[in-house]
Symmetry: C3
Subunit: 437 residues, 3 copies
């Protein structure tokens, strides 16, 4: 027996969910964008590719879109490095849309079309409460049966874009495993914030999307409790790479490691963002803004205007924003700075710490102190700071997540080995693959 | 069949929930405040008026209060422009209070008193888990049966002021529609933060109310999932109009478009706040504070101290708070400013965009770029900025909410037509009523 | 019948949850730390002491740890002023760990060991969904039966450190009271953020713990709805007293009044933090930072740099951060300052207000205005400010929480009477014990 909250699918992690229109009128080849997307490799190729036969494709082109998916995947699906999960039409309030989605799934997976071996599952949008999820699950079961596929072999991912779907996520543990459904096929829980905003009838003065932090927490929690993987919705402002990166960082702190990508550029950013950096670096809280310190010959230098430091008679004057603090000793100054600085470890640093803890554990210790030290320089004044953090088994396990993510990527995405080798040295890659096993 | 998550009542939106004491001792006429409130019209009149026979009225005056409600509504209820939902006493832990509430409901709706035609429903405070909600529902069913009213014709609204009631909201979809209850009568889910704070045993140093953001999200979500309407609790600081407006704006971004009002002044503010402004305007993020730009002959001018801009040799020096950025070209400067500015569209702007998208859709396009451009001036330097936003069907639907709110208000509140005509030109009103239909 | 959402145990409040390793190899006496902890008294002694036979103790020392617990509690448990709830091993995914935990519970409570009279219950870590909680409950029932204890007499507390456990908290009201379990024994719901972070697979750049605000809200809400008590997890940075205090303040505003303590110093801080201060004081919002005003002969003085005030021709210039406001009259100035200042009442102030409201209630008033006035001085300019707050029954009840906490502490912790007498005068203690009864 497998516990329901272990991730059940081949991929334990999904960083990227990239959608492509399936058919466009007016072009010589209506499947042109599909053919282009299926050729992506390396960091530009997503973990999950979603030929989008719903919102990205005009309603009157969707029958052709379903045929295009089958044709393009039959031609080039075998070589595609990620998984392929087409999105079909669906709506909790409209049986004709649901029936259309069923027909498209039948078409795409028809063995005569030659694509089904490389179709990993389907994405169902606009689901409602759990009984609506079961309708989609049942259609997929019938599709599997009609086409001679093993029951449960096609994954099902859903877009959470209604309050009822958000509530349904709390019921997954009770419903998965029941004899009358195959909901164990559930794979991705993907937030769809634009439609969710409509469903909640939310209004913002500028028309911008609300943050929906509670929705993202609930999605991540449900994924954790039901062995699925959580993915955030699209980030509309394609040119705003910093904003996209910040959204990913915020998502990761909630356990939501995947995000929708609208362009290959966003795919690259989202594939790389959750991985630890090549080089570790120190950051400082400069009056509410996080600033990276510049490493110069072993000294970490702050050169902004938000923090000022001066040695005076009998002590130091530290000014952060408009707050002035006077401290009498270098030790007190180090204490103050310790509250402001933090270290972002590199992959190498993380592997070092993991190995250090594993060695301590073998030597019979349950907890050890990990020390992190640096010389920080502000306005020419240098201060040595050093912090200890206690690690026990729980700390070790919690900090293992980026390593496990790396291992999952490395095992499943050989096409990214070159990119990873550029990011990390070969030695680091070898040790990262080895740690924890 | 109607899906449970469509709003089922006459009003699809409720902006204002205004409470009035039902009986005060010592006055010549104990019903004086009721008589005054039922005379409110236009923006001073709430969408839902709540003669409050619970907390606002002394316990020993509540029998008289129930009689007063019947008498005042019999006299003047026909002309009142909003709905009338008296609050009766109730407590999940006290059967005698519940029985008293039942008796008051019987009295208020007794056909001999002549008020029942203008009583739209009841507000039940201090509910607990869903089985407690069913007790109130059952009493209302008996009231309807005793007085020859159609079953389900009286709405039921509840005050969410306990952890058990918050959890009950997650069960509404499973319970509504069952043969043994009439919970489809549920109308408003109203947060009661003071009692909720007591129930959670929360402590703040100053005694101020916690924000309870998760409660508000969960209430809004439940309303969305169960076809009800969510309303925030009272805002105590009556003189703080800005604070009330900010709370409403924050609520609206969660889909909670209604709020309690304690005075006719708060009613006016809460009736107007969720509607789009008469004139659009640009805002700028001035080091964490949102500031409105002043429009002078087509140029949007920032004249505060938090942002400084200077043309220098070979570029521009932009200072936001204590951050300085140097950019070399006007294009780079425009890029930086684009991250800081945003536009708050007027009702006119929104209708324009809606019509533009509808025309594009008819012409067979699934998505179009909406452009917004302005000339921004800071410290005498003028810069042209321009942003595109992709609109698809989902964007269109999500941004339709303020228009739908307006349409609901216009249809149901003829007494506010004059006020709306003052806010928006007649032409805008006509087009807003037409769009989306 | 008792409603499930009333707190069912002897203690209605728990401020502190202090863990101690149960057995350490290499020491002369492996139970040394247990013997030291059980000797704690007064503010250093926790409300709940947790001999930790799980994470704090090495796996190969845990059988000895169980014996140590029995021995130390048999020797000195009678005199310990708090409750004693050992933590045993458990894991939702591992039956051998669960069986080991069962054996340790049997051992610790074996009447022959002489400890059971002073064992108040057990703490079960790593629980999963509600059926996993029932397995632990069933083992405790068997322990009670085997050892001739009354069924339900041993409390059960759980550590919430998985998404499935977080969801299980929403089901407590449905499951408690069923004939086939004794879940009414549930006492503490304790968040375990490190393991929760692992379970959610969250990643932060520095490896720091995410805030998990939604988890804390959901835990506090579940405690409120199911008659339990919520407790936050460990705060790792032991030297950071300010940070620990801030975390407690934030927790209290969510109704989470208890927190894990890792050292006697943290116990002292956590025992005192939720109690009202000895002396009331004014605070001011200095451009986003809360600063305490200094009381000098009846005048509340701000002497920082973030706010500046100057009397000018025809008015006053008030500068908060980089915002300048000009007001023409002292009245307008007082209005502006009123938005910035607030008062933190002392225990004495709170009791005064409670008594004032009780007197008004007896005189037949439902609501009264409570006035708070002060003279505030900034840059030598003095301004009189005064605010009213309406109190009704709900306000009174909500603000009673710190008093009830005090009463619970005073009744259950005679060993803290001296410390409380140092904090508050005898007269205040007497009146605080009397109010509300």
């Amino acid at each position: 027996m497998t516990a329901i909250d272990e991730r059940l699918h081949d991929r334990k992690f999904v960083r990227t969910f990239f959608t492509t229109p399936t058919a466009e009128s007016g072009a010589d080849d209506s499947a042109k964008k599909l053919r282009s997307a299926i050729g992506l490799r390396g960091m530009q190729a997503p973990d999950v590719w979603v030929p989008d036969n719903e919102d990205a494709t005009a309603p009157n082109m969707r029958d052709e879109g379903a045929e295009n998916i089958a044709e393009v995947v039959a031609d080039d699906g075998e070589e595609f490095p990620g998984e392929i999960h087409p999105r079909v039409v669906w709506h909790r309030d409209d049986p004709s849309t649901r029936y259309k989605g069923f027909q498209h799934m039948l078409e795409i997976t028809d063995p005569e079309n030659g694509a089904v071996e490389n179709i990993d599952g389907f994405v169902i949008p606009e689901v409602g409460d759990i009984d609506d999820w079961k309708k989609a699950d049942e259609f997929i079961t019938i599709v599997e049966n009609e086409h001679g596929l093993e029951e449960g072999s096609l994954a099902m991912s859903v877009i959470i874009e209604s309050g009822s779907a958000e509530l349904a996520m709390g019921k997954l543990r009770e419903e998965m495993g029941k004899a009358d459904n195959n909901l164990e096929r559930l794979f991705l829980l993907v937030d769809g914030e634009v439609d969710y905003t409509k469903d909640q009838r939310a209004i913002t003065p500028t028309g911008g999307l609300p943050e929906w932090k509670e929705l993202r927490h609930n999605t991540s929690r449900a994924a954790s409790a039901a062995g699925c993987i959580s993915v955030d919705g699209p980030y509309d402002d394609i040119r705003d790479v910093d904003g996209y990166h910040e959204r990913i960082t915020a998502n990761n702190a909630m356990g939501m490691l995947g995000i929708w990508s609208l362009t290959p550029g966003q795919v690259v950013e989202a594939n790389k963002s959750p991985l630890p950096p090549e080089e570790g670096y120190w950051i400082i809280d400069a009056d509410g803004r996080e600033v990276e310190l510049e490493s110069r010959e072993g000294v970490e230098v702050y050169s902004g205007d938000r923090i000022e430091l001066e040695e005076e008679d009998g002590g130091y004057e530290l000014e952060v924003g408009s707050d002035e603090i006077f401290v009498e000793s270098e030790e007190d100054l180090a204490d103050e700075l310790l509250d402001l600085v933090d270290y972002v470890p590199s992959m190498d640093d993380i592997v070092d710490s993991m190995e250090e803890f594993e060695a301590a554990k073998e030597a019979g210790k349950g907890a050890i102190a990990m020390t992190r030290a640096a010389t920080v320089e502000i306005d020419g004044v240098q201060v040595d700071v050093s912090s200890d953090r206690m690690w026990d088994e729980a700390t070790y396990q919690a900090l293992m997540t980026p390593v496990k993510l790396f291992q999952d990527v490395y095992e499943n995405r050989p096409d990214q080995h070159d990119d990873l080798a550029e990011l990390y040295s070969e030695d680091v890659v070898d040790r990262a693959m080895d740690v924890g096993n």
